[in-house]
Each structure stands twice: as structure tokens, then as C-alpha cells.
């Protein structure tokens, strides 16, 4: 600047700066990116080396009398520009937000990014759920070998060789030359195991558990079992869960109560349980246990909605005025009951085989087919689907 600034020239310069700034701010709002332009305006006028700042810095050359007036004017100019900038910024942001909000919406109908959930196999899931119910009743899980000795699978369970009860179970045997370890799998020595076979039931785990630990005992043993049978209703391998509760004064009424509690916990609170006399070598008295049908609720009659569902596939759909179907329930064949368990009081002969005193200890045992329960639960009508592991089958159990 030529010469010393006068108060007048400074006031004039301030005024000019203010007008220029306000005009530029006004213009900036028409720009595509007003924020950037506004920032450059701020720098030009209010930055460290901006026009207004320079004027303020040069005030040192003014006389003391002139300073307050110029100072005031300078501050006012700065405030005016600042507030104009702020307003313009608000306006610009508002306009930008407005534009963004008015843009065409995204295609919300495009599918989301897939999350692969994985699937539980219905048999394994059912088995685990059954176990969880018994765990809540204080049972612990026990396990045992699937490749068993004749002693554990039959002999100790009061099923001697040549007993007709063996006809009830067609057994897979291992080709000769493989001694099954004559030791229990925790290292305790057991009796000679005899011929080597695939266990036909989970009951040998009872024997092993009792041989290993003294009473009392409360266990469930889920696992694979094998019978030499393969047709529409049998697979050579299937799953059972065995339960055993041994203590003083355990009664058949306790067996009934335990199974009743299981049934209501697992199948629903209205489920009823009934016991029919039966025969197993390792329990006496023995019972087949039925639960009221999970589909018809024990009435034995099919539900019309189910029938309607099945009719739909035949093309003639629902015909108005057609009376509801009242045929027998397909799940229980109209009996109202489903046979799901075998059970009974542990036979004294089994206690003797494992060295428990049958006069002191009593107990009950039960065995249930898990696959059948899974089929009931998920209404699977073809047993063989269970072990084909077809993805189209597995995908139905998320």
C-alpha cells in the first residue's frame, strides 16, 4: 500500500471488502459445490492473510483516536462476512441434503447379501434336544463303543446265546481276527467280551457304566446302533438313546413319572403317556411306552386342514361345501398313540452280572429310537432320506 493508510481509506476498504464478499457469497450459492467456494471466500477475506485481517493488522499505524472507530468497523465487517458465510453454508447444505433426499430410491427389492446359516441334521438335532430334556432332569451323558463284545451286547443283558430273544435283533458281526479290547474304554478290565459285533442297541452302555462305577447312577446314552435289516422301514444303522437310573427305592412308578415328564417337556404339555406290558430280557417288568399322537393329539382322527393340504396337490383343490375329511390320522393310523419307547425295571440278572446287589438297588432303564422321533417331529415320511444327506433334504431344516 502506498503511503500511510488513513482512517477514511481503511473504512472505505472495509466497506468495499464487505460488499465484494457478500456479493461473492451470493454468487457462490449458485455453484455446484458451494462449500468449496465458500471456504475460498472465507480464506480470501478472513484467513490469516485475508483482506480483512490485513486491514486489522495495519491498524497499528493509526492514531490512538482513530483506532476504536476503525476497529469497530473492522469487527463488524468480519462478523457480517462470517454470518453471511454461515447462512450460505446452511443454505447450501440444506439444498444438498434436499437433493440427496429427492434422488430416486435404490432398488430395495434386490436380495440381501446371503448369510449362510448352516443346517443341523434332523436326527442329530432331535438327539441333542432329547438329551437336553434329560439333562434338566439330572441325567449325564455316557457313551460306549459301537463295536461291542457279545458279553456287553447280549450276555450281561440276560440274553444268553441260543435264546429266542436274539431273534428280535439281527446282528452284524465283524469278520474274525479282530479281538475287541477286553478292557472297558476307561481302562478298567472287564469280562471276556466274546464274539465281536456291532451293538444292536445302546443297552451295553448300561452294562459298561455299571461295571465302571458303583451305584447310584443316572445316565443317558445316545448313539448309533446297527441291525442287519434294510427296507422301507428299516435302515442298517439307526440311533437310540438309552436311559438308566439306579438308586435305592427307585420304582416303576418313578419310571412312569420320568417318562411322563420327558414327554410333556419334549412333545408338549398335553402329551399323555401309557405303558403296555412287554418283554425285554434286561428289564422286568417291561413295558412298551406310547405317547399320545403328536399330530392328532390322541383323537385318532385326521385334521381336515392336513387333508385339505394334501388335496391341493391333486388339482381339484378345495371344493366349496365339501365336508371336512374325518379319516384316521395318518401318523398314528387312527389309534391316537405312538409307540416310541421300550422301558422297564432293571432285571436282577443284569444287576448280578455287573455286581450290584439287587436287594439293595433298584432302577429303571429305557430306550428310544431317535430317528423315529425325528420323523414324527418333522413329519418325514421316508426313513431312507435321513441318511442320504441330500442337500435338498438338509436345506429343509434351518
Amino acid at each position: 500500500m502506498e503511503g500511510r493508510p488513513t482512517p477514511e481509506s481503511m473504512l472505505e476498504a472495509l466497506d468495499s471488502a464487505k460488499r465484494t464478499a457478500l456479493a461473492l457469497i451470493e454468487e457462490a450459492l449458485a455453484e455446484e459445490d458451494p462449500a468449496g467456494v465458500l471456504e475460498s471466500i472465507r480464506l480470501r477475506f478472513l484467513g490469516k492473510k485475508g483482506e480483512v485481517s490485513l486491514i486489522l493488522k495495519s491498524m497499528g499505524s493509526l492514531s490512538a483516536e482513530a483506532r476504536p472507530a476503525v476497529g469497530q468497523a473492522a469487527n463488524a465487517t468480519r462478523d457480517a462476512i462470517e454470518s453471511a458465510l454461515a447462512r450460505a453454508k446452511d443454505t447450501a447444505e440444506g439444498a444438498a441434503l434436499d437433493r440427496e433426499l429427492r434422488a430416486p430410491p435404490i432398488d430395495v427389492s434386490l436380495p440381501g447379501r446371503p448369510v449362510e446359516l448352516g443346517r443341523r441334521h434332523p436326527v442329530s438335532r432331535t438327539g441333542e434336544e432329547v438329551v437336553r430334556v434329560f439333562e434338566r432332569m439330572g441325567f449325564k451323558v455316557a457313551s460306549g463303543p459301537e463295536i461291542e463284545g457279545d458279553f456287553y451286547n447280549f450276555e450281561a443283558l440276560n440274553i444268553p446265546a441260543e435264546h429266542p430273544a436274539r431273534d428280535m435283533q439281527d446282528t452284524f458281526y465283524l469278520a474274525s481276527g479282530h479281538p475287541v479290547a477286553a478292557t472297558l474304554h476307561d481302562g478298567t478290565r472287564g469280562p471276556e467280551p466274546g464274539e465281536v459285533l456291532l451293538r444292536t442297541h445302546t443297552s451295553p452302555v448300561q452294562v459298561r457304566s455299571m461295571l465302571r462305577s458303583p451305584p447310584p447312577i443316572r445316565i443317558v446314552c445316545p448313539g448309533k446302533v446297527y441291525r442287519r435289516d434294510s427296507d422301507l422301514t428299516h435302515t442298517p444303522m439307526f440311533h437310540q438313546i438309552e436311559g438308566l437310573w439306579v438308586d435305592r427305592q427307585v420304582t416303576m412308578a418313578d419310571l412312569k413319572g420320568t417318562l411322563q415328564l420327558f414327554a410333556t417337556s419334549f412333545f408338549g404339555k398335553d402329551t399323555r403317556v401309557r405303558l403296555r406290558p412287554s418283554y425285554f430280557q434286561f428289564t422286568e417288568p417291561s413295558a412298551e411306552v406310547d405317547v399320545s399322537c403328536t399330530l392328532c393329539g390322541g383323537s385318532g382322527a385326521s385334521r381336515s386342514e392336513m387333508e385339505g393340504h394334501e388335496d391341493a396337490g391333486q388339482g381339484n383343490g378345495s371344493i366349496a361345501g365339501k365336508p371336512p375329511q374325518t379319516g384316521p390320522c395318518k401318523t398314528c393310523s387312527g389309534t391316537g398313540w405312538l409307540e416310541i419307547l421300550g422301558a422297564g425295571m432293571v432285571d436282577p440278572a443284569v444287576f448280578e452280572a455287573v455286581g450290584y446287589d439287587p436287594d439293595t438297588w433298584s432302577g429303571f432303564a429305557f430306550g428310544m429310537g431317535i430317528d423315529r422321533v425325528a420323523m414324527l417331529r418333522y413329519r418325514i415320511d421316508d426313513l431312507r432320506m435321513l441318511f442320504e444327506n441330500d442337500a435338498r433334504f438338509l436345506d429343509q431344516f434351518p
Binding site: S124, M252, N389
Partner: protein, 817 residues
């Protein structure tokens, strides 16, 4: 056992309940009724008619023109049966009748003669097999009445599935006894008087028992002058209703008594027995017999046989021989009524694959007291329906007299077992109704004699079960054990179960589907697990089944992986080639000593696209690091820090995996946890699979030893970490694990300053021109952390530089700018 209700009624004094109710009551007393059918159903319209005239058909040699009277009118019927004769009473189906097999009888002309209906045989009526001609209803049949008036038709048959402990229920009398006990009524058992019509001309027959342990009693009764022929219709109907085909009157009587009393009998043609002699002995090695089913059988030295003076004539308790069979020519029969020991019968029956009505009963234990009664009953029936004279008294050889069992029942014990108080008087009453005899009784107990038809009732608990089932299981209350705190179980089982549950979570989170497979594999699959042809690995040596169902299921699987590969093969047929599967199950192995083990495994398989096909994904295929990621996640889920485990390139012991991308997984102390990798192309070939299938298996036992399912809280640092990136270039032979190890091991300087590397995350791996041949760049995001202060830039910089110096020193690493 099929039970025909009209037959059953004969033995009961009270009317039977409705069949469905009867079935239910029997079932709930322990004799399960599996089904109810009707014998001779669908024969409404068939009437009894009498043939009044019978003349040859002029146009056909084999046909006859009959005039028959149906009780109302006479009609002409053309008939081709060989046995049609004048005066005969036979079933007639008038036109319009529908016969079994949906055959409609119509009026029609047969070779020019109009036939108004059809005269019928038992086969045509669907009753039993008989191709000898018309069903002869006998002279007493009421002409004009419906057929079911002359024969028990449209009557219920109960199919009873008697459990193996109930041989007593394998007869009509036995079931009637059970019903009497359930309904508290009485039994009217059939009786037969011992009689003789003629004195024998001695010696007429001889019985010798060489094996008194195997045959404790042998009763023989001879009847001579019998006329072999068809049995009367009522008897045929009863046999047929119970599922046994009528053969001839003598054989039918033995079967009738079998179904009535439950005791198996056999009839020999006495004239065909050498020296009229019966010897009960063991078969001699090399002896052969042709049994009634026309099969020649080589006998075993422990088979018990009935022999005559020369050779075996029957397999004792199992089946008779053809050589002494009762035929049309037979006139003298010897009825055998014996008791054979169950185990021996069962062994022999199994050895010869012969399961007969007779062996079925002897195996389960026939009534040792009944042979004389059964023989007498049979003789009297034969006399009645086949004529003949009973010769002498029965020959009764009885080397081991039967001793009835005695069992004491403590009344309180019943209540202790059942948890249901049943009065002593009722307990006794139930047992008496079942045929038990009270020997001694006091306030606390009763001593009983077990009836001879329930020889398996040897213990107190057996009696308690009898009381319970007749009293009714439904009366037992539902309670819970009151004083039991028992929780003793087996630790390992519970631990594996809990761990399996965690592993399933991890696998599900990785998008895997769970599968459950048979435990079998095929021989081809086993071979594919061998390192090279001719070599054997542990997994290529499988436990073989001696009686597999098929070749595909001949062996126990040695890895769980083989099942997953088979699942992939199956699913690929249905265009499901993107698969992530897992299974928790066992493999079955044996060691050098032949000792079997069944390690439980967690196995997984991944192949195809990494992410499901979607507009958001690019279709990249899974690779080694996907399966490794799953394994790491699984380990983490059971509390094993994957960073504490080592993944090292395999040796030669995983021959089913690809040599360049496979590894063992070892725990912190070097213990083997499992393996993972890409399958070997040879295995892929065996399973008809594409390349790039990744599999893993973890050992549950090893995992379980290392697992920590209950984590311990360690605190969260209160001060923010400082983040710095670090990219180093190292030789590409340096494993990433080595770099990481150096990064995470504490530095001396840092330890003094209370600073550590909380985390070093590898976020980029680069090979290429920019880093030079044989090198790669590894870039880490490092978090520096102090537990007692906020770190300053300068102090982390110092430590960062120390870290770089260490990498340079140890690995010759260069900093990548």
C-alpha cells in the same frame, strides 16, 4: 399266532367282549394283538346246495351237468370238478354273487348248456388251498342256508405277537387261559380220555431215548386202520383261519392239537419205521435226511434226531422226514408227543435254516407236563375223523420226570418294585388265575408252584411282573424318585457331547450343513486311502463285516471323510456342487495287535463357490484357507486358541490328501489334533469328484483334553491402543507363522516400558515384480497396547523400530515402503 374267535369261545365259559375290546385288553395284559382280520369274509350270497342229479355233459368229457337244489328252487349248473357226485352238499354261488378276487358269477352257457351259478371249491372261496374239487360240506349241512351257517365264516382272527417269554400263549387254550385270567372267568379246557380200542399184538412199537437231557419225555400212541383223506370242513376252516394249510386228516389233527394245546406233535407211518422202533439219539456224522419240505439235509453230530432201527426219520422238534411221512396208503400211524430241550432245538433249527411251528414252540419251552394229554387228544380226534382203532395204552418213556418250580413272593416286594400298593389277597388271586398253585402262605409272603406251561417263571420278579400286568400298568402312578440325588455318569461321554455341541455351532456359523452317515464304506474306497498301490496305511486297513448287507457296506469306515465324499458325489448328481458339509461321528480302526478303537471325529468338507451364488458375490471358489478357517473357528469355539496350535505340512501319513496343500493340526504341546487339506486327485477319482475338494478331521478325544469350555475373564485394557502398519519383504520360504511369532513375542525394551503388541493382523500378502523373485511381502496391522497409560507416538515408534530391527536380524527382512 393267529387266534380264531369261534374256536377260542369253545374254551371259555363267558361270552367274549367285542373283538376290538378283546384285542385291547389282551394287548394291555401283555399279549400284543397286532391286527384283527376276518376269516372267510366276502362270501355273502353263497349258499349250501345239494346235488340232486349229476350227468355227463354231452359236449365235454370233463364237465358234468348237475341239477342242484338251493333250498328254494332247483337249477342247472355245469360243473368241472372231479369229485362232484349225486347227493353231495356243496357251496353254490348263484348268478350275481361276487367271489374273492372280484370274480362275478354270471349266468352263462357252457358248451351249449345254460349254467345258473357256480359250485365251489375251498380255493375258489378263498378259504384254503384245495385243488381236489368241490368243498364237500358233509351230510349234516343245512341245504338252503347261507354258507356261514355251515362253516365259521366272517369270524374274527386275532393276530397275536407273543413275546419270546410267552410260549404258553402260542395256542388257543393258552390264549383262552389268559382271557380267563384277565376277565376273572373260568377256562374250559378240552379233555380226552385215555382209551384203547384193541390190545396190541406185542411187540407193536418200541421207544428208546438215548439222550435223556435233550428229550426228557417221549409219548407214542399208535392208531391203526385209519383212512387217510380230507379233514372235515370245520377242521380245515379252523386250521386255515389260524394260518395252517390242511394236508390230510391225520396230519391236520396233529396241527389242530398244536394250535389247540400248543404242543407240537408228529405222525409217522408206523409201517415205514424199520422194526417199528423209535430211537431218540444224536445224528451220526454223515447221516442225511430228506425233510418234509423235500430238502435233503446233512445232519450234524449234535443234531437230535428221531430214528428208526436204521436211519433218522425226523429232526427232533423241528421237522419230520419224508421217508416215514403219512400218505394216502398209510393205515397205521404212530403219534409222537415229546418234550425236547429248547437250546438244542434252536441250534439245530438255526443250523438248518428251518423255522417251523414245532421248533418255534420247543425253542421257547413247551409244556413238559402235556405230552400224554396231547397224544391222547390227537388219538381221539384221529379216531373220530379218520376212523381207526387206538392200539394199547400210550407208550410213555419218561427218563427225567418234571419237577415243578417253586417260587416265593414277598408281597411288600411287589409294592417296592411297582411303587403301587396291591393287596396281598389280590396278588395271590391274580397268580392263581394264571395257574399258579399256592403251597404255603403267611402274612408277608406266599410260596407258589409254577404251572408247567410257564417254566420261565423262576424268580420273584417274574411273579411281580405277572401281578403288574394283570392288575394293569395303567394303575401304576407317575412319580419321581424321591430320595435320589444320583448324577454319577461318565465324564467322557458328557464332555464329548458338550464339545460336539460347540463344534456344531462353529460349523453352522461357517455355513456348513450337518450330515449323518452310515458307518460303512466299500472296499474300493478303502483302497483309495492307501499311499500307493500295494502299500497300506492305517486308514487303508478296515474292519470288515462278516455278514454285510452289500459290497458297498462291507467295511467300517476308517475316516469320516469318506462318508462326506460320498455325500458330495450324491449331491453332484443333482447339480448341488457347492457344498459345505460336516459330520460328528466315529471312525473305526485297529492297531497292530488287532485292538479296536473308535475315535470320534469332527469332519468337514468344502467345495465349489465360497459364497452362495448371488448378485453380490463373485463366484470365487473355496480354497485351502477356507477349510483352515473353519478348523480355526472350531478350535476357538471350544476354547483352544488357534494361534497356539501349529499347522505343519504333512509327512507321508495323510496319503489321501494333496501333497502340496495339506497339513496336520497340532496343539500347543505338539499333540496331534487332526488334519486338513485338499483331497488327493486319486481319491477324487475314486469318488468321481472334481479337483479342489477340501476336507478336515479333528479328533474329539484330543480336542476334549485341550478344550476350555469355561473361559476366564482377563480384563479389558482401559487405555486406547496405538495402531501402526508394518510391511516386510522376506524370502517366500519363510512361513507366515514365523513372522507372526517374532511380532508377538515380547521385546525386551517394550517389556521394560510396559508396552506389548496386543495383536498383529496380517492384512496383505503380495508376491510379484515389486518385491522381486523368491520374495514376498507380508503386511501387518499392529496394535501396541499398554495396561497403565496412553502411549505416545514417540515411545511406540521406538518399539516399532526395535521390532523392525528384530525382523531384519532374524529373517533378513526388508521394510517395504
Amino acid at each position: 399266532m393267529k387266534v380264531f374267535l369261534p374256536w377260542l369261545r369253545e374254551y371259555l365259559t363267558r361270552d367274549l367282549p367285542e373283538p376290538s375290546e378283546l384285542a385291547e385288553r389282551l394287548t394291555f395284559a401283555g399279549l400284543e394283538v397286532e391286527g384283527i382280520e376276518e376269516f372267510g369274509a366276502g362270501l355273502a350270497g353263497v349258499v349250501v346246495a345239494q346235488v340232486e342229479l349229476c350227468e355227463p355233459h354231452p359236449e365235454a368229457d370233463r364237465l358234468k351237468i348237475c341239477k342242484v337244489f338251493d333250498g328254494v328252487s332247483k337249477r342247472t349248473v355245469v360243473c368241472g370238478a372231479p369229485n362232484v357226485r349225486r347227493g353231495m352238499k356243496v357251496p353254490l354261488a348263484p348268478p350275481g354273487t361276487r367271489l374273492p378276487g372280484n370274480l362275478l358269477v354270471e349266468k352263462r352257457r357252457v358248451r351249449g348248456v345254460e349254467s345258473a351259478g357256480m359250485l365251489l371249491s375251498a380255493s375258489e372261496l378263498g378259504l384254503w388251498d384245495d385243488h381236489s374239487g368241490l368243498l364237500d360240506l358233509g351230510p349234516k349241512a343245512p341245504v338252503g342256508s347261507a354258507l356261514h351257517e355251515a362253516l365259521d365264516l366272517s369270524e374274527p382272527v386275532l393276530e397275536i405277537a407273543a413275546t419270546p417269554n410267552r410260549p404258553d400263549a402260542l395256542s388257543h387254550v393258552g390264549v383262552a387261559r389268559e382271557i380267563a385270567a384277565i376277565t376273572n372267568s373260568s377256562l374250559r379246557a378240552p379233555t380226552a380220555r385215555i382209551r384203547r380200542d384193541i390190545e396190541p399184538s406185542a411187540p407193536y412199537a418200541k421207544v428208546v431215548i438215548d439222550e435223556p437231557e435233550r428229550c426228557t419225555r417221549y409219548v407214542a400212541q399208535v392208531v391203526e386202520g385209519v383212512r387217510i383223506g380230507m379233514s372235515p370242513p370245520w377242521l380245515c376252516a379252523r386250521l386255515a383261519a389260524a394260518g395252517i394249510r390242511p394236508i390230510n386228516n391225520v396230519v391236520d389233527v396233529t396241527n389242530y392239537v398244536l394250535l389247540e394245546l400248543g404242543h407240537p406233535l408228529h405222525a409217522f407211518d408206523l409201517d415205514l419205521l424199520a422194526e417199528s422202533t423209535i430211537v431218540v439219539r444224536l445224528a451220526k456224522e454223515g447221516e442225511v435226511i430228506e425233510t418234509l419240505d423235500e430238502v435233503e439235509r446233512k445232519l450234524h453230530g449234535s443234531d437230535l434226531v428221531i430214528a428208526d432201527a436204521a436211519s433218522p426219520v425226523a429232526i427232533a422238534g423241528v421237522m419230520g422226514g419224508a421217508s416215514s411221512e403219512v400218505t394216502k396208503e398209510t393205515t397205521r400211524v404212530l403219534i409222537e408227543s415229546a418234550w425236547f430241550e429248547p437250546t438244542g432245538v434252536r441250534r439245530t433249527a438255526r443250523r438248518h435254516g428251518l423255522h417251523s411251528e414245532s421248533s418255534h414252540r420247543f425253542e421257547r419251552g413247551a409244556d413238559p407236563r402235556i405230552p400224554l394229554q396231547a397224544a391222547t387228544r390227537a388219538a381221539s380226534l384221529i379216531r373220530k375223523i379218520a376212523g381207526g382203532r387206538v392200539v394199547g395204552l400210550p407208550i410213555d418213556v419218561h427218563p427225567r420226570p418234571f419237577e415243578p418250580l417253586r417260587v416265593t413272593l414277598r408281597f411288600a416286594r411287589t409294592n417296592e418294585v411297582l411303587g403301587l400298593p396291591i393287596r396281598a389277597a389280590e396278588q395271590v388271586a391274580i397268580l392263581r388265575r394264571l395257574g399258579f398253585k399256592v403251597l404255603k402262605r403267611d402274612r408277608h409272603s406266599v410260596e407258589l408252584e409254577v404251572p408247567s406251561f410257564r417254566t420261565e417263571m423262576a424268580r420273584e420278579i417274574d411273579l411281580i411282573e405277572e401281578v403288574a400286568r394283570i392288575h394293569g400298568y395303567d394303575s401304576i402312578p407317575a412319580t419321581l424318585p424321591r430320595r435320589s440325588l444320583a448324577t454319577a455318569g461318565e465324564e467322557k461321554g458328557q464332555a464329548h457331547f458338550d464339545i460336539a455341541s460347540r463344534l456344531r455351532d462353529a460349523a453352522a456359523a461357517a455355513g456348513c450343513r450337518e450330515v449323518v452317515n452310515y458307518s460303512f464304506m466299500s472296499e474300493d474306497e478303502i483302497a483309495s486311502l492307501a499311499p500307493r498301490d500295494g502299500e497300506v496305511s492305517r486308514e487303508a486297513r478296515a474292519l470288515m463285516l462278516s455278514n454285510p448287507l452289500s459290497k458297498d457296506q462291507a467295511a467300517m469306515r476308517t475316516t469320516v471323510m469318506v462318508s462326506l465324499l460320498a455325500n458330495l458325489r450324491h449331491n453332484r448328481r443333482f447339480q448341488r456342487g457347492d457344498l459345505k458339509l460336516y459330520e460328528i461321528g466315529r471312525a473305526y480302526l485297529f492297531d497292530e495287535l488287532g485292538v479296536i478303537s473308535e475315535p470320534e471325529r469332527f469332519a468337514a468338507l468344502m467345495t465349489g463357490r465360497r459364497r452362495p451364488l448371488s448378485w453380490t458375490t463373485d463366484g470365487t471358489a473355496v480354497d485351502f484357507y477356507d477349510i483352515k478357517g473353519l478348523v480355526e473357528a472350531a478350535l476357538e469355539r471350544v476354547g483352544i486358541d488357534p494361534a497356539s496350535c501349529s499347522f505343519e505340512t504333512k509327512g507321508d501319513d495323510l496319503p489321501w490328501l494333496h501333497p502340496t496343500s495339506a497339513c496336520h493340526v497340532a496343539g500347543p504341546e505338539g499333540e496331534l489334533l487332526g488334519w486338513l487339506g485338499e483331497i488327493h486327485p486319486r481319491v477324487a477319482g475314486t469318488f468321481e469328484l472334481p479337483a479342489k475338494v477340501f476336507v478336515a478331521e479333528l479328533e474329539m478325544e484330543a480336542i476334549s483334553r485341550r478344550a476350555r469350555l469355561l473361559p476366564t475373564y482377563e480384563g479389558v485394557p482401559r487405555f486406547p491402543p496405538v495402531l501402526r502398519d508394518l510391511a516386510v519383504v522376506v524370502d517366500d520360504s519363510v512361513p507366515a507363522a514365523r513372522v507372526r511369532q517374532l511380532l508377538e513375542a515380547p521385546l525386551k525394551e517394550a517389556a521394560r516400558a510396559g508396552v506389548n503388541v496386543a495383536k498383529a493382523t496380517l492384512f496383505d500378502v503380495y508376491t510379484g515384480q515389486q518385491v522381486g523373485e523368491g520374495k514376498r511381502s507380508l503386511a501387518y496391522a499392529i496394535q501396541y497396547q499398554s495396561s497403565d497409560r496412553t502411549l505416545t507416538d514417540s515411545e511406540t515408534m521406538e518399539i516399532h523400530e526395535a521390532l523392525i530391527r528384530r525382523l531384519q536380524h532374524e529373517l533378513g527382512a526388508q521394510l517395504r515402503s
